[in-house]
Structures are given as C-alpha cells and as structure tokens.
C-alpha cells in the first residue's frame, strides 16, 4: 500500500510536471502571438496617427521663379515680380477655399536677363529639390536651360518665351503664351492693313528677334509685301549708331515703315534716338510685344514720337476676358500702373503649376507634367483658355493691337484693336 501510494505521488508529481511543461509551452506560444498582435496593432495605430497628422498638416511646396529683375528686361521684370506675388497669394487662397491643406511658396531668383544666370538658377532650384519652375522670360534663356530640365525632369512654364524654334513636342518646357509664328501673322496683317507695302524689320540679333523676323518676312510676303531684315547687336547699352544706320538704310531702300522687334530697354533706347531723326519720324512705325510695358515709352518725348509716327504694335492678349479686367484692376490698385505685357500669362503659369502639383499627388516632374496637360485642358484663366498644343505652347492665343495714348492727362498703354481669324479690327 505504501508503495502504491508512493507511485501515485510520484505519478502525480511527474504528471503535474508534464502538464505544467505542456501548458506553459502552449501558453507561451499564445502569449507570443498575443504580443505580436498587440505590436501590429500598435504599429497600425501609429501609422494611422501619422496619416491623421499628415492630413491635419499643411503640405508646403516650393516653386522656383526665375525673373529678369536686372539686365535688359529689368523694367518689366520688376513689375512681373508683383504679378508673381499676386498669383501665389491667390493660389494659396484657392487652396484654402477648397479646404486643401497645401501651401505654395515662391522661391524668386534674379536671372539678370542672361542665359548663364538662368541656367545657374535652374540648377540651384534642382539642388533644392524643386520640380516646377516659372520662367525664364526670354527665348534665349529657355533655350539655354532646355537640355538640363529635360534631363532632370523639371517642369518649366515660361510665360513670355515666344520663339517658334522652341516649339518642340514631348519636352519639359511649357509656354503659357502662343509662339511668334502666330504673332508674326498678326503683325504682318496689321502692317498691311495700314496700307504699308515695304518695311525694314529692325530686330534683335538673338533667338527671339531672328525667328520673329523670319516668320514676319514669310507672312508679309504672303500678303504681297516686302520685308527687309536688319539686325542689331543686343550686347550694347546704346544704339545711337545702329539707329543712324537704320536711317541711312530706310532712305536707301525707300521703305514706308519700320517694324521693331525689341525688348524693353533696347527698344526705348532705339526710339529715344529715332525721335531726333526727322526722316525716321516721317515713317510709320510698328512693333511686336517686346517693348510693351516699358515705362520709357510713357515719357513725353517718346510718347510724342509714338503719336507722330502712329506706332501700333501687337501683343498676345485676350481682351474680352472679364477675368483679365478684374486682374488688371487688382494690379492697378497695388501698383498704380497697368499690368505690363505677359502679366496674364505669368499669372496663369503660377496657377497651372500649383494645380498640376495638387493633381499629380506626388512632387515628381513626370507626374506633374502629365497632370499639367490635364489641368490646362480644363482651366480658364486670366489669359483665357490655357490648353496646350502638342509642343506645350498655348493653343488658343488671341492678339490685341496696342499703342500709347494720352488718357486723362497722362500717357498710357492702350489696346486699340484686335486680331482674329486673319483680320485686324481697329477701334475708331
């Protein structure tokens, strides 16, 4: 009996030990599983928390802006800076209005109206991780940055580069303005409509001037006119000698009018010398958009010359757009002057860039480029319908006819007509 009891006790002890060992192994597996589950839940909670935080946070995107604040385009460049500030302010207000927690910040750099500085700015933006850039202004600058932005997939929206030679499909360059192929047609029609059959085109010796002159000559010849090109070196500060040669050439060729393809500072300088030449003052003068907005044209001496020679110019603008009038009035309130040329295109470039980033969802060049095409198709801005053509240039571009006139005792830029469907319509 005692032996049986002893066996029973030993059996119980062994059984309890085995049972404990078994139970503890089962329990530890269960405990480990529970721990894993708790950890997983914790990590999911923290992910959700991150997402909630992110949704509550405002995402900040920087957009690079390269403007000609100094150099040949300084006069309008400084005015464009105000347009950029207005556009970013309005873009951020729109984001708030639609409850989007996104904020855009402009990083404005001066490109000195040079190609080298424009490229340096773009490289700086790239190093800072910026994928969308507004500007540069001039075609020769856009040409200089083209391969760099294409290689690095940076979306560029130039509001004022118009050279037809830069109308290239499938690149990263977009232009919120029509190419000069269209404006050359409008200007040729304007000159012809004034009964002028033979002109000298006095133009910049750069990407913009040479291409414009080439297209103008084609269009003007097609209308039965004769156009003679005369280029000038753009690196000079003063063009007195070139104007003297222009005077000699106009007499020699017996032309009836002069077409100038200039930027603002060179254009003002040319007119300031031309006004002293009685023969040049006896001819009709025409201009592209390049000089529009230059304050020098509103001074008494040059404005008088403009009136005497009945200078008319073309510029890309959809005049009948009510949004444009509201924008112009807002700009006037801020600065006391009318918005210069390409202001509408610049304003829309900022808007399109912002909405393309939002639509893309990721801050990557390729995605933004795809989104930009889509956004532009559905966006109606200060410059009208913003849709791009296959080259990334504004598809629907209207042109207005401008001059300088005395309005309420002061000289101002005034739009006096428009170009549509090959026909120039001038107001009385």
């Amino acid at each position: 009996m005692p032996r049986l009891l002893a066996f029973l006790v030993i059996g119980l002890v062994i059984g309890a030990g085995v049972a404990y060992a078994y139970m503890s192994s089962v329990m530890s597996t269960a405990y480990a599983d529970l721990n894993t589950t708790i950890n997983n839940l914790n990590s999911k909670i923290s992910q959700l928390q991150d997402q909630i935080n992110r949704l509550n946070q405002t995402l900040e995107y920087s957009i690079g802006v390269t403007l000609p604040l100094t150099g040949a385009l300084t006069d309008v460049g400084v005015q464009w800076r105000t347009v950029v500030e207005m556009a970013f302010e309005d873009l951020n207000k729109e984001m708030q209005k639609y409850k989007m927690r996104v904020k855009f910040t402009p990083i404005i750099q001066d490109d000195k109206t040079t190609d080298t500085q424009a490229l340096a700015n773009v490289q700086t933006f790239h190093q800072a991780g910026i994928k969308v850039i507004i500007g540069p202004a001039a075609s020769f600058q856009v040409k200089a940055i083209k391969s760099y932005v294409d290689d690095n997939k940076i979306v560029v929206l130039s509001p004022s580069s118009t050279a037809p030679t830069l109308a290239i499909p499938d690149d990263y360059i977009y232009r919120t303005v029509g190419s000069d192929a269209g404006q050359a047609k409008a200007l040729a029609a304007l000159v012809k409509s004034q009964g002028i059959n033979k002109v000298i085109v006095f133009h910049r010796d750069d990407e913009y001037g040479v291409a414009f002159e080439d297209f103008f000559e084609r269009e003007f010849s097609a209308l039965g006119g004769t156009s003679i090109g005369m280029k000038y070196d753009v690196t000079r500060e003063d063009f007195a000698s070139e104007v003297a040669q222009l005077s000699a050439r106009t007499r020699q060729e017996g032309v009836e009018g002069i077409v100038i393809i200039t930027f603002d500072t060179d254009g003002v300088n040319i007119l300031s010398h031309a006004r002293k030449d009685s023969y040049l003052a006896s001819l009709r003068w025409f201009s592209s958009e390049g000089i529009h907005g230059a304050m020098g044209l509103l001074g008494e001496d040059i404005a008088t010359f403009i009136q005497k020679t009945n200078l008319l110019g073309t510029r890309p603008l959809f005049r009948e757009n009510p949004l444009l009038h509201a924008f112009a009035s807002q700009y006037r309130d801020k600065t006391g002057i009318d918005p210069p040329v390409f202001s509408a295109n610049l304003y829309d470039a900022v808007m399109l860039a912002g909405w393309a980033v939002v639509r893309a969802g990721v801050y990557e060049g390729e995605a933004i480029r795809s989104a930009l095409d889509e956004v532009a198709k559905n966006y109606y801005g200060v410059s009208g319908l913003t849709m791009f053509d296959e080259n990334g240039d504004k598809l629907f571009q209207d042109y207005s006819v401008w001059t300088v006139k005395l309005v309420s005792g002061e000289y101002r830029y005034v739009d006096v007509g428009s170009y549509s469907g090959g026909v120039i319509t001038l107001e009385e």
Partner: protein
C-alpha cells in the same frame, strides 16, 4: 554722316568724362578700380532721383553738383573703408583689384535694392528712365537750331577738364596728387600725407566719373547697368592713355568713340561688315595699344612725359656728341 559725327562727339565727351578720372585714380593710388562703373551709374541716377523724389525739373547746375558730390562721397568711402585699410596692410595690387571687384558687386546690388524700395514707395518706374531736366530741346544760334544737350555736354566736358587741369597744375593739393602719382616715397619724405592726398584724389575721381554718368543721362536712358555696360570701353580709353596720362586718355576716348561710330559705319557701308562687329573693333584697338605700346603705369614703368623727356635727353646727348 552728320549723325555719326554728332554721335562721335557725344561718345568722346562721355568716355572722356568717365575714363580720365579712372586714369587719375589709378596713377595716384595704383588701384585698378572695377567699382568705377558704379560711380558712373550713381552719378547718372542722382538727377533722376531728385526729379522723381521732389517732382521737379532739375536744373543742369544742380544735377552736375549733386552728381559730383554723391560720386565723390561714395569714392571717398570706398577709399576709407576698403582701399586704405588694405594699402596699410601692404596688400598687393592684385588684392586691391579683387577688393574693388567685391566693392563693385556690393554697391551695385545695394543700389538695386535702394531703387527697388524707392520704386515701390514712390509708385513710379525708375529702373530704366531719364532725368526730367530744365533744358530746352533746341537753341537758336546765328539762325541755326542747335541741340541744347549737345551744346551742354561739350561745355560740361570743356569746363570739367579745364578745372581739373587748373586744380592739378596750379593748386598745392593738385601738385601733391601729381607728386604722389610720380613718386610716392619721395613725396612722403617731403611731408605730403599720402592718405589725405589719396582721399582727395578718390573724391575727384568719383565726382568726375559721376559727372560722366550725368552726361550719359543727357544722351540716353539710364539703368542700374549703365556704368557696367560702358566700363570696358572706359578701360580701353584709359589703357590707351597708358593708365597714366590724362590728356592721352582723352585722346583714347576720341579714338574709341571714332572707332565705334565712324570706322564701323565706314566698314559697314563700303565693305558690308556687320554693325555687331563694333565691340570687336574697339577691343582690337585696345589690344593693338597693349601690344605696341603697353601701358606704362600697368607695367610699372614711367609716365609718358618722363619717357618723352628721356628720349629728348638722348637726342640732346647725340646732338652734343656730333657737335
């Protein structure tokens, strides 16, 4: 050809007013001053700022005086705060030249900032403009209508150079400046304070360069880049003057001006050379000058007048020998 001749006169006067003070400052201080262009720009802008700021038409006398004073003050400050400390530390000419480049960029962008602020405050464009001056367009003289600004620039150039010649040759300070320029060590032994003399030289150089800027504003529009855009031509004129001789620097201005306005037109009309070759011609003249007759000052040699004297002495010796 009349227009080209008139342009030549304009440019000769403008380049002369800008280049002669550059030569004066170099030959006295041995600083090849790249900030010279900003004195020109500021001088060009002073009448613009007076006219826009006060809403008045500025008389030419006020414009010239204000431009001179401002240019002189900025040049004196350049000397006092930058060049003088470096000269005292016995810095090399290369260091001084690099310092002048830094000064040039600093003043230029500070000036841009000032103009930007003023444009915003006054709500009036000032980045590419011209001064509102009290000058008639034409003046009738013996039945002929003459451009009043052309007459003014000729008078201004003649008056400035006559006063400068009088100051340098007839006054004590002027003679001290020439003494320092010719032999600084000897001049200092005779009791001339080099630092004070240099300060006066900088004042005159900056002031006259600023008058050059005002002269430019009579001819064409001014921008914050005005001085920079003409500085290479101005250096060319000074190099022709050997960076030493003031009269030959003015001759250099006439040469560069004629090259840019007459020679290029001649080549354009008769040989079909493009007008854009104009800078090429100016700098071809500059290169020729450097190769044929290197600037005495830059090469560390003697001023032209000493060269001529030594040639004259050799000639006298030869004559004596033969006699």
């Amino acid at each position: 050809m009349t227009t080209e001749l008139i342009n030549t006169v304009w440019y000769a006067c403008i380049y002369g007013l800008m280049a002669v003070p550059l030569t004066l400052s170099y030959r006295t201080s041995r600083v090849l001053n790249f900030a010279h262009g900003v004195y020109v720009t500021i001088g060009a802008y002073i009448p613009v700022l007076i006219a826009k700021g006060f809403g008045i038409k500025v008389s030419p006398i006020l414009a010239v005086s204000a431009s001179f004073m401002t240019g002189a003050i900025i040049a004196m400050a350049s000397h006092a705060f930058v060049f003088s400390p470096l000269i005292k530390k016995k810095s090399t000419p290369v260091t001084l030249m690099i310092a002048s480049m830094g000064l040039w960029i600093f003043i230029k962008y500070a000036f841009y900032a000032v103009l930007g602020t003023l444009q915003k405050a006054w709500m009036t464009p000032i980045f590419y403009t011209s001064p509102n001056l009290e000058i008639p367009i034409l003046i009738s003289f013996m039945g002929m209508d003459i451009d009043a600004k052309l007459l003014l620039i000729i008078s201004l150039t003649s008056a400035t150079f006559s006063l400068l010649a009088f100051f340098l040759t007839k006054t004590k300070v002027g003679m001290a400046i020439r003494a320092i320029a010719d032999n600084p060590e000897l001049a200092q032994i005779t009791g001339i304070s080099r630092d004070k003399t240099l300060l006066v030289t900088w004042a005159i150089s900056g002031g006259v360069a600023a008058i050059g800027g005002f002269a430019w504003s009579l001819f064409a529009y001014v921008s914050p880049e005005t001085g920079d855009n003409v500085i290479l031509q101005v250096f060319a004129c000074s190099v022709i003057g050997g960076l030493i001789s003031l009269p030959i620097t003015f001759v250099g201005s006439v040469i560069i001006s004629s090259t840019e306005n007459l020679l290029i037109v001649f080549l354009h009309r008769y040989l079909g050379v493009e007008l854009s070759f104009r800078p090429f011609l100016s700098f071809f003249v500059l290169l020729l000058t450097i190769l044929i007759r290197p600037p005495a000052g830059a090469g560390g040699g003697l001023p032209y007048r000493y060269r001529l004297r030594s040639i004259f002495r050799v000639f006298q010796r030869e004559v004596k020998k033969n006699v």
